[in-house]
């Protein structure tokens, strides 16, 4: 999978690049509008991460350029601009997702995965991890081909954990992911523990191996050992 990161904040870009390069992603980084447009016209990407405020222009101009070239890349805007107008404008021009800064790298990763899944969608939208099989459209989870009863939230959590395989996820990152728009008001993240516990129990009862590990003092990790 090839990603293009267009971001002028070097430190942020390096962290994103490192986090994403971890698995089967290749992440290229540019920080100028001109370089971005050059890269986009020369190569094909699976997903483009686009900051809106760049030293030599506006991210929206790149977005328009991509659409003018009839490119089919998935585009996620990552910006500090959080107004509804900017978001609507972004979606109108053709962005697929919008992530407001600051965000957790784990959140960015699952958004990219979800976008690529939607883009490459061919009849079935299924995530498989060893004995676990998740059908995203019908919202069902099977372990060893046996359907287990899960809530929407638990499926969401499962996808988030699997998507961030081998990465430590803090309680607040998980809480923010699960609570969506409510995250800004939520100052208690204890409910994460209950969700993890329930999911773990359901998976174990269905005969799945124990992939969810607690990481002392930090949070949780999905690990295939």
């Amino acid at each position: 999978m090839k990603l293009l990161l267009i971001e002028d904040e070097k430190e942020l870009a390096l962290s994103i690049q490192k986090y994403l390069t971890h698995k089967d992603f290749v992440c290229e980084w540019v920080y100028k509008k001109q370089d971005a447009i050059e890269k986009i016209s020369m190569y094909e990407y699976d997903c483009i991460l686009l900051d809106l405020m760049l030293p030599d222009g506006n991210g929206f101009e790149i977005l328009k350029e991509i659409k003018d070239q009839n490119k089919s890349e998935g585009i996620i805007i990552i910006s500090a601009k959080e107004t509804l107008e900017t978001k609507i404008e972004g979606f109108r021009i053709g962005a697929d997702d919008y992530l407001t800064k600051p965000f957790h790298l784990s959140e960015l990763l699952v958004r990219i995965q979800a976008l690529i899944r939607r883009k490459n969608f061919n009849g079935n939208n299924i995530v498989v991890f060893n004995e676990i099989n998740i059908d995203i459209l019908s919202k069902t989870v099977r372990v060893n081909n046996k359907l287990i009863d899960t809530t929407k939230k638990e499926i969401d959590l499962l996808l988030y954990l699997i998507g961030n395989e081998n990465r430590v996820l803090s309680k607040s990152a998980i809480a923010e992911h699960l609570s969506g728009d409510m995250a800004d008001m939520l100052d208690n993240h204890d409910f994460v523990y209950a969700h993890i516990k329930n999911l773990k129990k359901k998976l174990n009862e269905a005969g799945s191996r124990d992939y969810i590990k607690s990481v002392y003092g930090l949070g949780y990790k999905w690990k295939n050992d």
Partner: protein, 421 residues
């Protein structure tokens, strides 16, 4: 007790007028009476002088009988010795009116053909009483008309004179610094009021501009903080992935993570407050409050589960309000989360929505909260808690910009926050 400006002026005028009337009436009465007596005395003395000068030298002893017979008011009696003149009040029985009437009488000694007589002369004072009464009445009427006239002229004049003042007052009363409105004062012809108007206008303009700068600063600051915050967050996320993190380091990382999450929430909420002040969410639609409460109920129940809180809902089937949908979500979420956050283990939450009121009641600490700073930014009941201290001020702000009322009550161990639409 405060009094209206016009009432105060008029009541002072009225009091003064009454006082003058009360004092002037008896003074006038006595003064007129005194003047009349003086006049009567002068007349009596003049008559006596005339008598001595013209009548007495031509009189005989025999004439005295005739004189006394034809003069009702002037009599002459024989006397033993000479006496000094004396004037006094006395009463005589009037056979015509059949009553006692007051008289002024002069008693003097006169000499007729070298014999001493006593000369008495009297004037009826009944007429004088009538005149004094008439004068008094006339005076009273004149003064009353004068005062009444003054009173009404002052009232009318004051009303029109103070009109610009009341106009300015009314405009200042409706002025709110966080609303985008400009005050339009029209210049008048009274110099002092023009000065007042100009000063107030300057004051308001200055304050509005300071307020705008402040507002802009908060919004810019919150906005500018997002990028470094994003770097901070990303670096912590990256650091957490390292396998060589020791136990002590992971504890520090966890604290940092909590802190950055709180920082982020604070920043977002400050931005939200700024945006509300900038009237970003001013477009309203009719929404069903009932639906909005039910929409996120699962999420809140999940939050409440941690404390095993029982939620009781008592809402009208379809309660509709006019509000921006984003603000409706924020309003309900903040009230709900507030009720959860300050609740006790195994506590309860009662949500009631009826007759234009939305109330969230929750169990909590067993004493009422101090109302004073309850809705202020960063006011916290418990300073050590994790909250941003912005939740209730966001609720208040939403209510303010939509002209709803927020109130807090504490009854039977329940803390209640009510929004009146």
């Amino acid at each position: 007790m405060t009094k209206n400006l016009l009432h105060t002026t008029l009541s002072v005028y009225l009091l003064y007028s009454l006082l003058i009337l009360l004092i002037a009436a008896p003074v006038l009465y006595f003064a007129t009476q005194q003047l009349y007596l003086q006049e009567a005395d002068d007349t009596l003395l003049l008559h006596k002088k005339e008598f001595i000068q013209y009548v007495a030298p031509t009189m005989d002893k025999e004439d005295i009988g005739a004189w006394n017979k034809f003069n009702r008011n002037r009599k002459i009696y024989p006397a033993e010795s000479l006496q000094n003149d004396s004037i006094y009040n006395t009463t005589y029985y009037d056979t015509l009116d059949a009553e006692l009437e007051p008289y002024r009488e002069l008693k003097a000694s006169v000499t007729i053909q070298e014999r001493i007589y006593t000369y008495t002369s009297k004037i009826n004072l009944v007429e004088s009483e009538d005149i004094i009464k008439s004068i008094g009445l006339l005076f009273f009427i004149t003064i009353s008309v004068l005062l009444a006239g003054l009173f009404f002229i002052t009232k009318r004049l004051s009303l029109s004179l103070w009109k610009p003042f009341y106009k300015i007052l009314q405009q200042i009363e409706t002025f709110e610094i966080d609303k985008t409105q400009t005050l339009q004062f029209t210049p008048g012809r009274i110099e002092e009021f023009n000065r007042l108007r100009i000063s107030i206008q300057k004051l308001i303009e200055r304050n509005t501009s300071i307020y705008a700068t402040q507002k802009e600063f908060i919004e810019n600051a919150a906005h500018e903080l997002q990028t470094p915050l994003a770097v901070f967050q990303a670096k912590i996320d990256s650091l957490m992935q390292r396998t060589d993190v020791t136990q002590g380091q992971s504890e520090i990382l966890d604290s940092l993570n909590t802190a950055v999450a709180r920082f982020n929430r604070l920043n977002k909420n400050l931005l939200l407050l700024s945006k509300m002040e900038n009237a970003v969410y001013s477009d309203k639609i009719t929404i069903s409050l009932t639906n909005y409460i039910h929409k996120n109920l699962d999420f809140f129940k999940e939050q409440a589960n941690a404390k095993n809180i029982h939620i009781k809902i008592d809402i009208e089937k379809n309660m509709e309000i006019k509000l921006n949908p984003i603000l409706a979500d924020i309003l309900i979420s903040n009230l709900f989360l507030n009720a959860i956050k300050h609740n006790i283990q195994d506590g309860e939450i009662i949500i009631s929505a009826k007759k234009g009121n939305l109330t969230f009641s929750n169990s909590g600490q067993a004493m009422p909260l101090k109302q004073e700073h309850l809705f202020n930014r960063f006011s916290k009941v418990n300073p050590s808690e994790d909250g941003t201290g912005l939740g209730l001020s966001i609720v208040k702000k939403i209510a303010d910009i939509n002209h709803f009322k927020v109130s807090y009550h504490y009854t039977s161990n329940l803390h209640s926050f009510t929004i009146t639409f």
